[in-house]
Amino acid sequence: MINVIGDNVIFLSFLFIILSFFFYTIAFFKRSNLFSSIGKRSLLSVLILLTVSIVLIEFQLITKDYTNLYVARNVSNDLNSIFSATSLWAGQAGSLLLWTWILSIYIFIENKKSLDQLIPISKIAGTFTLSFFIFLITFIENPFEINSQVIDNGRGLNPILQNIYMSIHPLSLYLGYIGITIPFCFATASIISKDKSNKWIIESKKWTYFSWTFLSIGLLLGSRWAYLELGWGGYWAWDPVENVALMPWLLLTAFIHSSYAQESKNVLRRWNLLLIFLAFFLTIFGTFITRSGLISSVHSFAQSSIGDYFMIFIFSIIIFSSLIYYKNKIYIESDREIKALSSKENFFVFNNILFLVITITVLIGTIFPIISEFFTGKRILVGPSFYDLVNFPNVLLLILLMTFAPFLPWERGNIRPVLKYLKIPLLLSTLISIFIFYQFNSIKISMVFLICLLPLFSIIKELMIDIKLKNNFFKEKFRRYCSFIIHFGVIIMIMGVSFSSNFEKKYDLTLNEGDEVYVDKLLLKLNYIYDKETEAKNILGANISLTDQKKVFNLFPEQNLYKYEGNREINRETEVAIRSTFIKDYYLILVDKNFEGSLNLKLYINPLVSFLWIGSLISILGGFLLLVRRN
């Protein structure tokens, strides 16, 4: 019953979005307020209808109504209500419905703005994009498809995904991804209406901050989840699915910098339009790549027909964007150009080049199998070392830019006063990196520290000066301090990443009950092995005590075997035991039990991983502060 209602509600929303698109287009050509208000009402109807369908499917998920095929394939009786509710984005049809709903909310929010040149066209672009997604859920991947069989238990959610990080992670990524649509619509509108002002940049600002923040949260949660689960190679593995989530984030970061230059000095206009088009394109492209099965990834998504539709959509965006670009080329050029090499805007240009290089590197790595198969007939891929090799010098250069750019003036710059200003920070960071060199005997790491500490100390110096002069920086320099907070976090994060990836230690152990073993000044004792049984799973676990310089703590690594398999192939789950300290993480995995009763264990000692999480959180905090700031 609910399926039929839901199906019809979605179909109605499709009709209304077509209406809305149609009337907005007429309103634009006829310059009529009447048509525009019809368009607006239709859009409101779309929003209401989609909200109803979300409520319906959530009701079905929570009450476990297996007459709905989507519900039958994504939840089971043993799943609790929270994970049942978040199963909305565990499958394809549900994810698309969620995507569509969020997009309709965004477009509706923007819709409320007053009518001037920019808004009407952005509405056309917005409703067009929304039509595409509603088309998909109405005709291709309908979340209200009826289950032809009568069953009393569903297939259930993969145990590895039954994790709180994993249940928020996709939602956060979607919120960010979809947010890029709005600046894209403004950019389109700005080109078509031949508007030479910076209005579209100013209108887009909040949305880019918003998208950036939520994409960051999504990426962080994803890598945190990967770290806590097993067999994923730590927190980042350069898997195609991770890469396609990272690329829009990189371009958005570049865009935030260069749009600031346009807002302040009216330069880089054409460049900004290009960047936001690319970011939007990569968002759709990423969805296409993961859904079309074109690239094999360790995450195997469904290979379904929606890939073809995404392809058509991508091509229409490319053709449309290039068309309006060439038609209005003369209106796009900036009036002003960059005047000096060591000026803030020029450093932004280099920042953008480097971000673009990272994005292209990641893109090349991701689609390399396709390219190589096309040219040589063999599928060849590039390993993680490819990304590390290219991105390592790139990120260091970016941090160097990050050191100088905030202290350079606009337009006519001179690097000398900045160097003078940085004298004490430079001295301090050199001293610390020399110390680091003697401690760890690695030129690479001490170089990373030198380059990372310099901007850290320069930020601290400005803060100290402001406090001394009693500057009211909370009001006057709020944006600057937000950017400092983000930079600060990024640097901490990069220090954590480079340290943990260079000094990770790994040990394989086989222990019997009562065995004691010394591992690198660390005493490990297997106290006892235990078997537990709960309603859902059988647990094999071990109580192991670690002694590190008189500090003793117990770890409980476990292997879970889920009883109810449903239709899943996966029923084994490893619970990694982690003891996190500020300096290092002890990361213990129970691999398996040998025939005669001993356990195979793996111990990782990962230094400074905490920096990665702390740094990311600081950056995200900075993003939130930018968001709540009043204009």
Partner: protein
Amino acid sequence: MRPKIKLRVLAFVIIAFFSFLIFKAVDSSLVYYLTVNEVLEKNRNFPKYKQLRVLGVVKEGSIINNMDGSIIFVIEEDGSSMIVEYKGIIPDIFDDGVEAVVEGDFRGSTFKAEKLFAKCPTKYEDADYEKEKS
């Protein structure tokens, strides 16, 4: 005009540097991606030092746990199969009948894997279901 030219030269240098780096990195990190059949057909055509990544299905009941924590198993595709030896973290979802990807190279007839991936976590749809559909 001068700063603009300087800017372009500098930008060109940076891009040239990274293009060079990308080419070098590609060269040093190439991994051939093949299925079991393809590997057995073309095995001898690959330069010795290049890594291989092979996709196959883990044969039912073939997984053997060694005392030292390493495992030996067979992956197969349409009847042809190869023996894989692996020591390292075993993904949760690794089991009989799962699609596995191994990365490493041949030592004699045994494939010595340095990495082992099992397909899944975000298994969005059921494989059987997709077959029914198409």
